[in-house]
């Protein structure tokens, strides 16, 4: 089975790799590129721990082939912080205690980031529906919701200040 050459931009950096067609995106990220932020949870596209952004959309990287990402732009949790400064979403999860064991957190962060790009001022219901593809077994979600609400306020404040 022949390997395929792919060129994929991940967190702003372009990588050229030869991948086996059956390599899943999450394995490519973790094992080839040492980007271990996206976690392997259920492996059947239910839990959302492996969530990353591909071409501006949240997807589950356990159910996507690396070879399908040829020419794509991928964002993982490692790409959220900027030069050591936490992204507003990360800061909000930290401040609001939006995590306990932390296993689901990379997926929650990347999904929340994309949700707030799509809907900068979501209602609580919209947040719950928006993160319904990400399971957390610790928090009961309350503080995650608070964190997303807080991140929405931070992002809106910073965009108002910038304007």
């Amino acid at each position: 089975m022949s390997k395929k050459l792919i060129s994929v931009t991940i967190n702003g950096r372009t990588h050229e790799s030869a991948v086996e067609p059956r390599t899943l995106l999450v394995h490519y990220l973790r094992e080839e590129l040492n980007l271990t932020g996206a976690h392997i949870g259920c492996e059947t596209s239910h839990c959302g721990a492996c969530t990353v952004d591909v071409d501006g959309q949240s997807i589950k990287s356990c159910t996507h082939l690396a070879v399908q990402c040829d020419g794509s732009d991928v964002l993982t949790v490692e790409g959220l912080a900027n030069k050591g400064v936490l992204h507003a979403v990360q800061e909000a999860f930290y401040e609001e205690h939006g995590l306990q064991c932390g296993f689901c957190t990379p997926g929650m962060l990347v999904r929340s980031y994309r949700l707030l790009q799509e809907n900068p001022n979501p209602t609580e219901d919209e947040i719950r529906i928006g993160i319904s593809g990400n399971l957390c077994r610790c928090t009961g979600y309350q503080n995650i919701i608070k964190a997303v609400q807080s991140a929405a306020r931070k992002l809106q404040e910073s965009s108002t200040t910038a304007a």
Binding site: P21, R22, E43, Q68, I129, G130, G133
Partner: protein, 287 residues
């Protein structure tokens, strides 16, 4: 879990995909959104030697209007079905029902065509397609043919789609003004298939029902059209007695498989309940 080894093909036209299907025969599978096929490959329920990825075929995407019909490309994702202004305006049942499928990430990848062509009775689009009188455009080496949704599903994972054909488009007449519609889906949790679900499309003239479709999800080897339930409603008013008659007629054709979602009796009772709810919800939307 890693899928078994396969050769990967990424055609950029339907013609190229059909050529590959024709050459590779039953050792090949089409890869659409991948959210049924890739998990099945990981679990070794499927082990195709060749995957033909149809995600890079532009002609399979998009939603357009053609006369009184809405034409939906088979590779249109659930997210696109939800957000399409055309579907929202002309076939609102589809955009609302798609919100009940899986979760946001899966809806970004999962496609309407994949949901239909897979032939899984748990999928929602088969019953929805029957309820809106949809037809499917299938293309093979000899050209195109059109099959009504009603005549497409033969059994679990068995459809009218031949091994060397690609499902290209879903056609459905735009709802006439005043059409009522509903999809009532009972599920245990986000991402689960329906325990039972019912789609209804209804038109009324005064109190009298002049058009009615009642279809069911996941209570048989395929999605079901409840003809007897429709007959119990057509030319009648919607009241407690016609609702009960329709719900009982729908329950009579249910043949669900017992699983963790419930036993046969429970699923059949829930199907009847979804019929009752969907009829009331659709009637409330009739103008």
């Amino acid at each position: 879990m890693i899928p078994p080894r396969f050769e990967y093909h990424a055609p950029t036209s339907v013609g190229e995909a059909i050529q590959l299907l024709n050459d590779l025969g039953d050792s090949a599978k089409l890869l659409a959104g991948g959210h049924s096929l890739l998990p099945m490959m990981k679990l070794r329920f499927a082990a195709p030697e060749h995957l033909i990825d149809i995600n890079r075929i532009p002609e399979l995407r998009g939603v357009r209007e053609d006369g009184g019909n809405v034409v939906i490309g088979a590779m249109t994702t659930e997210t696109e079905v939800i957000n399409s202004p055309l579907i929202q305006a002309k076939l609102p049942l589809l955009s609302e029902a798609a919100k009940l499928i899986a979760d946001p990430q899966v809806r970004n990848r999962g496609t309407i065509g994949g949901d239909i062509a897979h032939g899984d009775p748990g999928n929602d689009h088969p019953a929805l397609a029957m309820a809106i009188d949809a037809s499917f455009v299938l293309q093979g080496p000899g050209g195109q043919r059109t099959v009504a949704a009603d005549a497409f599903f033969f059994g679990t994972y068995m459809t009218a789609l031949a091994e060397n054909e690609v499902l290209c488009e879903i056609h459905a007449p735009a709802f006439a003004s005043g059409t009522g519609w509903a999809y009532e889906k009972l599920k245990r949790k986000t991402g689960d298939w329906a325990t039972a679900a019912c789609a209804v499309v209804m038109r009324k003239s005064g109190d009298k029902i002049t058009h009615i479709r009642v279809t069911l999800t996941n209570v048989g080897p395929t999605a079901l059209r409840a003809h007897d339930a429709e007959a119990a409603l057509l030319n009648n008013a919607l009241d407690e007695s016609s609702i009960s008659a329709a719900a009982n007629a729908a329950a009579a054709i249910c043949d669900p498989a017992e699983d963790l979602r419930g036993d046969i009796e429970y699923k059949t009772a829930m199907a009847a309940q979804m019929v009752r709810r969907a009829l009331k919800a659709a009637a409330a939307r009739c103008a």
